[in-house]
Subunit: 366 residues, 2 copies
DNA sequence: TTGTATGCGTTATCAC
DNA sequence: GTGATAACGCATACAA
């Protein structure tokens, strides 16, 4: 015990040296110590019955030799490689990066390594990556995409290891998929606008080919309905995920006859940014004239918007973390949960709704 | 040969099935075929002298059983794991994502898997990740950061496997570092502005604590000098990497007495975006009144800027790809190259310099 | 042309 | 307390 502490301390002391010597095997340690390899194994793993002196001596020698057990050999024996595969499909990075981070964090803090695979939206690549992962005997696999309605059609039920889907769906009914809560995220956004005193809330979103767009529209509708508010004419507007579309849609909204909205719930921060720019250039003030909520909480965009953009965060990093921990659980105890697990999203309040000034006495963060 | 083709075809036919059965070993195949395991090994690896009939029969059985050789066992024997470690340090993703993609592409197309490690700017995490990688017997390691002057102080000279640094530096003089060409990128940017007929070119950049900022300023100076142009008063301006700073710096530049610049070379696309917004709001037209070049070629920003922003691309993806291929070479033949290898950057022309309309007869892309 | 034996680096089960 | 020995799954030198 104390010995181990000392070794650890010694290792930290010369902190810029990693594994000073090239890999020694358990045989080398045994030879140096003048004992058998089984004794070394026991000493190093704190198992069996050994004299304390022997144990310490062996540990010290192993340390001096920079001995690290060969995990390949360990894995071969234990039938567990302490590694998992992460197959991503996002060429772009905005969505898979936080997921990857979350997964990596969960894994590495449990001493499990992560193989990074880029499917690049190519089914052939996906398949070859998966076969490679299987050949490497990973303990589990996480498949992730950049939109919730992306379906993986490969049948992975018989590969004998747990598989998890993140921000994606599977054809297998017994698969577990982690998904963001687009529905409630939208509700939260609109409720916040209502709480800020807005009554004519429009919605500008992305393409209807995205399931997320449907869900967000549904949440938008529900929140308005529960408050007894009408959907402004011309809303919701569906387009593409770009600033330009946000700009254009806002122009449309404010040039058509009739009453103008006093708030816009935007389907993405990019759209929100375009909306904000358009409003400013039309001489309208955010949030005084029009309040804004975005979606994604893409810090770099939301924080650069003038005024800074209140947004819904899907908590993708947390989703990745949960995916990692859940997979680890399944590796140990086998898969149990199936279907879709929804990860709550949250509201990140910035300036675009005037909430802070409105209720400067009360800080709310849901 | 034909046999193999047929097998391959058969595998593709039921394309959504990956490894139909759970892992069979070489013994299972041998038992099924009524031969010894060594015969199976030879048959599957196209080695030794076997009757063609035997070879084909074994292959077919192996295929039917869904046999995949256990790479752990192979690696143990061959002393080569066909995997490498990629230790990243970018919590944010903008810079390391393309590098990771490039590395992954290079590796996976050579049947080498990539372990993803996030150092998270924590030396302890870095060290523990590295030890884990070594224990997993990776064949090589790539260390990457998000700025060229980030130094890795860990001494990795004696770990016995090749190590490469990307967008980062090492304390070891015999290490190989891949770096972007900030100097020439800046020169190219300014030369382009000059070619567009600009004469009073200012430079707004990030913090002087970044080596990249120094190099870009140097390139800016050199390009002006070689054209016999003076540096406008107040330029270069150093601040932070944000839109807000670009906006503010532009305000400063255009409110001070004296002649105004007719072009601005921006140290990042974020800065460029702030500059563009500021100019528009001051009633100045880009590119007619002021031409703009950014840096990073961050598509999502550059394409959303009005007008779209011409920018310098550091070609990080290519840098990652080269890093991957170079590491593979070093794994095979041992390290040779040391020092810094500079990856050329390139100019991506959009609208902010008016180049297209200026020389609509000639398309130039350096 | 095929089979036997050995070893890769570990851990675990048994003797001693 | 300590040390042989047998796996783990595969490849290969050598025998047959």
């Amino acid at each position: 015990m104390t010995d181990q502490m000392d070794d650890e301390k010694a290792r930290r002391r010369d902190s810029h040296v990693v594994s000073p010597r090239s890999s020694a095997t358990i045989h080398d340690v045994a030879a140096q110590a003048g004992v058998s390899i089984s004794t070394v194994s026991k000493a190093l793993n704190d198992q069996g019955k050994l004299r304390q002196e022997t144990r310490e001596r062996i540990k010290s020698i192993a340390n001096r030799l920079g001995f690290r057990p060969n995990e390949l050999a360990q894995s071969l024996l234990r039938k567990r490689s302490f590694s998992v595969g992460l197959l991503s499909n996002d060429n772009y990075g905005r969505f898979s990066m936080p997921i990857m981070e979350g997964v990596e964090e969960a894994m590495s803090s449990n001493n499990v390594a992560v193989f990074l695979c880029n499917g690049a939206d190519d089914p052939d690549k996906e398949r070859s990556h998966l076969e490679s992962l299987i050949a490497k005997r990973v303990d589990g696999i996480i498949l992730t995409a950049r939109r919730r309605d992306r379906r993986f059609t490969l049948d992975l039920r018989h590969i004998g290891i747990p598989v998890l889907y993140v921000l994606a769906q599977s054809d297998s009914p017994d698969a577990l998929c982690l998904q963001p809560d687009d529905l409630d995220g939208a509700r939260t956004a609109v409720r916040h606008l209502i709480a800020c005193g807005r009554r004519r809330i429009a919605h500008i979103s992305g393409p209807m080919t995205f399931e997320a767009v449907h869900l967000r529209i549904q949440g938008y509708r529900e929140a308005l309905e529960e408050a007894g508010l009408a959907i402004p004419e011309g809303s919701p507007l569906s387009g593409v995920w770009s600033e330009a579309w946000g700009y254009q849609a806002t122009t449309d909204l404010f040039t058509r006859p009739g009453v103008k909205p006093d708030a816009i719930f935007c389907g993405s921060d990019q759209i929100g940014r375009g909306v904000a720019d358009c409003l400013r250039e039309r001489g309208l003030t955010v949030p005084d004239d029009v309040a804004l909520v975005g979606f994604d909480n893409w810090e770099i965009l939301a924080a650069a918007t003038r005024p800074t953009l209140t947004s819904i965060d899907a908590n993708l990093r947390e989703m990745g973390r949960q995916a990692g921990l859940t997979l680890l659980g399944q590796i140990q105890d086998g898969p149990r949960e199936t279907g879709i697990r929804v990860i709550p999203s949250s509201l990140v309040i910035r300036e675009s709704c005037g909430w802070q000034t409105l209720k400067s006495d009360k800080t709310t963060q849901k």
